[in-house]
Symmetry: C2
Subunit: 335 residues, 2 copies
């Protein structure tokens, strides 16, 4: 079996879910550990993960490098990689970029829907592009090996991040806008710039990013992956399911509103459907990666391409992205 | 030349001092990064060190394991190991023990002169011994590989820490009380219990811990080391100079008073001599370790014993102390 990496999940973590990761043969998961948390609150979340690592050492451990994905496979466990969906954990302090990396953070979104200190989110009316601090922080992220993730960012900010970053960036969880025009899905221009710079796109299975939402078919999803591969190549493609398992709806409300508003904000939902959307019947949890793998083969991907999308493309990206810059060849030089 | 390790310094760090470390052939220094700082403030101090590591990569780098001391020697640099003189960085949160270790902390004193949440300091009138949290935190420190340091703790707390800890502990910077009866110096009972449990004593060169303070002679100091070796063996002995170089006297005032009092506390000083004491003429900075090495040979230590005291005993201790407990043989089992 080939490597399986899911490059975004945010679940109500439990032994049940860690066992499902093993049942699904998932070697590595990039887990969100902060949406709106400040530094100290993020550290509390890491402390919770440390307890899980201590409690369930035969199921999970903290991943820090691509080699840890191989170790996970060899030892029958799942490597857990930390990421932030917002730069709130680094507050207004560029020194926290390296601290976050030392604590294991490997992905950080520069903005989550709203304007941040660094960049613009995809829900803002105006996108003035990267801020002064945003450019400084990208340079520092490049130096230490913390990957820029623009999944929830607006278009101009995203294109500027791709251009400013000297190392490939990621959009860990989104789909092509041309397939279904969700605000969170990405334009051809962005995917092209991402792919040409060695970046990665993780396909999302979150219903709001799918054509026909929870009614999206496996074939429809896999055809979309195939069309994207035809246009931009297969090497830049992976999975970032955005699985939000077992959470009460209060959590999606918090994801959307954090502390930035006193009012309800429905985000991708609506007053009629304010909660978490129902997942497609063919992707309920970590045990369903076999289904996706079969679906990719069914739409014509060969074994090697399928292995790439299921995890090996992410693994190559992990290998090149998580170490300090002086240990790797920079993006521009590699081109 | 043999390994040279100084297991405590707290200087007003600068390129000058880092160059003096190199001139003195010092392979590793345990540096204090917190006296009274809370967690966030300690992280700010780490951020300052990260800037120095980035600025002076040919002189210093962050040490995390005994292997890093060997790497320092091979690459002509000094490995810097972080430590706390107080448990203030972990606040009231046992989860911060592992976080601190991940950030590189390798020594933590359970108390600094005063009562802490964990243990009693040597300036308190009463020493009720380890607290409930103190016992829990020692167990957690043992698990992750953060060394218990009792340099500034009171006697009962120290003996209880030695007994409760399943791994050898350290007194990084103090001298035998029998040599000179400073409050900070340690009784024979403590040194005996420390030595018998595989722990380490680092001899201090801070004048308040020396017989005749700054007038202490090199011969007197080295004779004291020799007498200690005769009584407790050489293997448990090293250096922890307590060098506090280039600081203004406002810093020693802060070391003594932190935020715990609104009044002046002279600590080991006095109203007549409130500032930093003058160092002995034969130990001014990191360039003077040759002098100590010669002094040890002059009082009769052979080459191997001298190498042990100058650094190899600490190196062996580092090798056994800084990794997670499941990677090493525990103290009790090793006996």
């Amino acid at each position: 079996m080939t490597y399986r990496i899911d490059c975004l999940q945010y679940a109500n973590w439990s032994e049940k879910i860690f066992r499902q990761m093993r049942q699904g043969g998932v070697d590595a998961v990039h887990v969100t550990i902060a949406y709106h948390e400040n530094f100290r609150e993020t550290v509390l979340n890491i402390e919770r993960w440390n307890r899980w690592f201590e409690q369930f050492p035969t199921l999970i451990f903290q991943g820090r490098t691509g080699a840890d994905v191989r170790l996970a496979r060899e030892t029958g466990r799942t490597a857990i990689f930390f990421g932030f969906q917002n730069p709130s954990p680094i507050e207004d302090d560029i020194g926290l970029v390296e601290i976050a990396h030392t604590l294991g953070a490997r992905f950080m979104q520069l903005s989550y829907n709203n304007q941040s200190l660094l960049a613009t989110g995809c829900y803002e009316a105006e996108d003035p592009g990267l801020t002064r601090m945003g450019r400084e922080v990208i340079t520092e992220m490049n130096r230490v090996g913390l990957v820029v993730d623009m999944s929830h960012s607006a278009d101009r900010s995203t294109l500027e991040a791709i251009a400013h970053s000297t190392r490939p960036i990621a959009i860990t969880h989104a789909n092509p806008h041309v397939w279904t025009p969700a605000l969170r899905n990405k334009s051809d221009d962005i995917i092209k710039a991402l792919a040409e710079s060695g970046g990665m796109l993780g396909f999302s299975l979150y219903p709001h990013h799918l054509k026909d939402k929870g009614d999206c078919t496996l074939e429809g999803f896999c055809e979309m992956v195939a069309r994207t591969a035809e246009r931009f190549g297969t090497q830049c493609l992976g999975l970032g399911s955005d699985l939000c398992q077992d959470h009460p709806d209060s959590v999606v409300e918090w994801m959307r509103t954090g502390r930035w508003t006193k009012h309800m904000d429905f985000g991708e939902g609506s007053a009629a459907a304010p909660g978490f959307p129902e997942m497609p019947a063919w992707f309920r949890d970590n045990r369903d990666f076999d289904t996706i793998e079969s679906g990719l083969r069914a739409v014509g991907f060969d074994a090697e391409e399928t292995a790439g999308v299921m995890g090996e493309n992410w693994l190559r990206f992990f290998d090149n992205s998580f170490s300090a810059a002086n240990n790797v060849v920079a993006k521009k030089a590699a081109e």
